[in-house]
């Protein structure tokens, strides 16, 4: 019968070989201990890529913006795809749709569906505009986020959105999510 694992003897031999080589000189920066490969990242390297913001706001950089400041940013950098009021359906509709989720024609927008404002900030900073991803400044991201939240009736026109206030914003649909309940059909028959 074909074996799919190394035999016990082989395992012991390998372990012995590994132990014997513990004293061997790996390249100084090698990070994977068993294999001697890879190097430690620098703080700058991590910072350059550590861009995803969780709901508690960890990692949000210093900066700020309001809806008033965000409007010109949005008009200039976002409206050509999303419409000046963010209601254009062509790509993604960003505004409106509240109260439609349980109807036959639900409209999912930032205001009606998104559970976390940090998600919005993180997404804009990383991926927008579509053809120039990641090209907005930090303040522009805060301002555009504020503008979209305002258009959706979630914050006031002059409310400051910054690293402290953003995670505290409670999105209307925050509690609208439930865990996967499957298998919910297709019960075992045989």
């Amino acid at each position: 019968m074909v074996a799919s694992r190394m035999s016990v003897c082989s395992r012991l031999a390998l372990a012995a070989a590994l132990v014997a080589l513990v004293g061997a000189a790996w390249p100084v920066a090698a990070q994977l201990p068993t294999y001697g490969l890879g190097r430690a990242p620098t703080a700058e390297e991590i910072k350059a890529w550590d861009l995803t913001i969780p709901p508690d706001g960890q990692g949000l950089p210093p900066g700020r913006g309001t809806a008033v400041e965000g409007k010109p940013v949005f008009v200039q950098r976002c409206a050509s795809c999303h419409g000046e009021t963010g209601q254009d359906e062509k790509y993604f509709r960003l505004v409106g749709g509240r109260g439609t989720l349980a109807t036959d024609k639900p409209v999912k927008t930032i205001g009606s569906y998104w559970p976390y404002a940090t998600t919005l900030w993180s997404y804009i900073r990383r991926t927008q505009p579509f053809d120039e991803p990641g090209s907005l400044t930090t303040d522009e991201v805060y301002a555009a986020t504020a503008y979209l939240l305002h258009l959706n009736g979630i914050i006031g026109e002059s409310d400051v959105v910054d690293a402290a206030s953003l995670p505290k914003i409670r999105m209307p649909n925050r509690d609208g999510f439930i865990p996967d309940a499957r298998p919910d059909v297709g019960k075992t028959k045989r």
């Binding site: 990070q31 709901p55 998104w114 439930i178 309940a181 075992t188």
Partner: protein
């Protein structure tokens, strides 16, 4: 001496164009045995008579850099999907990456954060597995009514390849996961990042950090040079152009997982983190848009797969689900892979509605659309794995129908 009409030694075109492509419209010779054929080529191509291509929405739904292109399943056979025809889904175009410059960063709640090159990753102990991928939105057009006319558009967001890479669990053991960690955030190098949070428990089982697809490097649209392969889970979780893995103690709720890949239920609540692709099957021949040429023998061919393991059984009905017969398996059944089944069928020339239904190793049976809609409504978008019906008309044409 006659001038020989053949190519001398040493003249071999690298990446030569297709045989006969210089005479693309010219017919093939009547009797090829009377003609010296084409030379050896360093890199092969398919015949010019083979024209199956992925379906790219025309005009684009949003843009040509956003969304899917579908595998031509109607022409498929076996379980391996030709790499050039593997479905693609992306939301910021296909990233163009130099493999020598690409890096994988693993950090967060670990003892030894690390940056690895692709060459270093390839030196690590490797694993190869045949796995399917399926976009969670496969078949999403069909919730309310039979909509797409052909199999490629109803079911084409699934493909199956032999993937090669290093176990994610090996990498995590090497970096030393800290106590309290329970999630991994995976992210890509493209314009969207496609950050996905996945439970550490899954990461310690069978996830691959893959660089190989059907024996060679992964294709650019499928994640070159590095991607995750998360067997049996939503295709989106198998992050392409993988550049970063962050070990954390909570999901990060990126847009793709907290807004996009969520399923709205009839009561207005939405399910989240529906990772598993449930058992699904579909008849690939005869299927919508194809034509059977007249009464007689045909083999009804079925493709079946399950994100919970192996397919145990496939049944076929030719009378809209009233009676069922077991189809025969055509090759070894592999867990989390496509499997191919066949049923001999004598078509008597009358209208017939064909269906397939699969059962996987957990005992889960592929449901009808009616059963699914009863629980999930028609706005849940994702995870439509219902039984598909194809109607064969008396003239031999095949249509997508609902019964």
């Amino acid at each position: 001496m006659n001038r020989r009409r053949f190519l001398k030694r040493g003249v071999m075109a690298l990446g030569a164009t297709a045989v006969g492509s210089a005479h693309a419209q010219a017919p093939a010779p009547d009797d090829p045995s009377k003609i010296l054929g084409g030379p050896k080529r360093a890199y092969g191509e398919r015949s010019r008579f083979e024209r199956a291509v992925r379906g790219v929405p025309q005009p684009a739904t949003k843009t040509d850099e956003w969304g899917p292109s579908v595998t031509p399943l109607g022409e498929s056979m076996g379980i391996i999907t030709p790499s050039a025809l593997h479905f693609e889904v992306h939301r910021g175009g296909v990233a163009d990456i130099d493999p020598k410059k690409h890096r994988l960063l693993i950090h967060g709640m670990v003892d030894r954060p690390v940056i690895l090159t692709v060459d270093e990753i390839k030196r690590l102990p490797s694993v190869s597995r045949i796995y399917f991928l399926e976009c969670a939105g496969n078949t999403a057009s069909e919730w309310r009514a039979p909509t797409a006319p052909t199999l490629d558009w109803t079911h084409g967001l699934t493909s199956c390849s032999e993937w090669t890479g290093v176990s994610l669990s090996l990498l995590l053991r090497e970096v030393g996961v800290r106590k309290g960690a329970s999630w991994i955030i995976a992210e890509g190098a493209d314009g969207t990042g496609n950050e996905r949070s996945l439970p550490l428990a899954k990461a310690m089982t069978d996830i691959l950090v893959a660089y190989g697809q059907n024996g060679e490097a992964i294709r650019p649209e499928n994640g070159y040079p590095l991607r995750l392969i998360v067997p049996g889970w939503e295709g989106n979780v198998s992050v392409k152009w993988l550049r970063r893995l962050t070990v954390t103690d909570r999901p990060y709720m990126s847009r793709i997982e907290s807004v996009d890949h969520t399923s709205l239920m009839p009561d207005g609540k939405a399910r989240r983190f529906m990772f598993v692709m449930e058992a699904k099957s579909v008849i690939t021949f005869p299927s919508g848009g194809q034509r059977v040429s007249g009464p007689g023998f045909y083999e009804i061919t079925v493709l079946a797969w399950s994100g919970r393991g192996r397919i145990r059984r496939v049944e076929v009905s030719t009378d809209a689900g009233k009676t069922w017969r077991d189809a025969t398996l055509q090759q070894p059944i592999l867990p989390f892979a496509h499997s191919r089944f066949g049923l001999p069928w004598r078509w008597d020339g009358r209208e017939a509605v064909l269906q397939s239904r699969c059962t996987d190793e957990t005992g889960y049976v592929q449901p009808t659309l009616r059963e699914l809609v009863k629980v999930r409504g028609v706005n849940s978008k994702f995870h439509l794995n219902a039984i598909q019906s194809w109607k064969v008309d008396a003239d031999g044409s095949v249509k997508n129908v609902r019964v």
